[in-house]
């Protein structure tokens, strides 16, 4: 699970069953200890939960 990186991840942030279709949603980002500035710049984000393996073709 990608969100397991973040200790503050709350399963309640998942979309509810009655979420309307045809609309775009983004799970709310919980706070977490950010990277230090050097690692942030290297990884392209200060937030470990957002440090995802964006790979061409597939993840």
């Amino acid at each position: 699970m990608l969100n397991s990186k973040n200790p503050n991840y709350n399963p309640d942030f998942r979309f509810p069953e009655q979420t309307p279709i045809g609309m775009a949603y983004i799970p709310f980002q919980p706070w977490e200890e950010p990277y230090d500035a050097q690692q942030g710049l290297e990884r392209g984000t200060m937030f470990p939960s957002l440090d995802l393996p964006f790979k061409r073709g597939a993840v």
């Binding site: 709310f28 980002q29 706070w31 950010p34 500035a37 050097q38 710049l41 984000t45 200060m46 937030f47």
Partner: protein, 84 residues
């Protein structure tokens, strides 16, 4: 990496951290922890800029401090070899 490059790297790092925390705070304006980090990096960035400007001159024209000389043109232009 020389001292000038080191300071530029610090500025780049701190300003990236500020921007990313800025984006987070836009959607989490009540997050005290994020705001604390924002201010921490703001301070570190300001210090790194001050240090750089003192040693190597302004990075952008409004950082010219001299009231006698237009020091903006002292440092090499981006297309000059010594700037890269």
């Amino acid at each position: 990496m020389n001292e000038r490059q080191r300071l530029l790297k610090l500025i780049q790092m701190y300003d990236f951290a500020i921007k990313d925390l800025n984006l987070y705070l836009d959607t989490h304006p009540g997050c005290a922890a994020a705001l604390q980090y924002f201010h921490k990096y703001k301070e570190l960035s300001a210090k790194a800029y001050d240090q750089y400007i003192k040693l190597y001159g302004p990075i952008i024209p409004k950082q010219v401090t001299s009231t006698e000389h237009w020091t903006w043109i002292n440092s090499p232009w981006p297309w000059e070899r010594s700037a890269n």
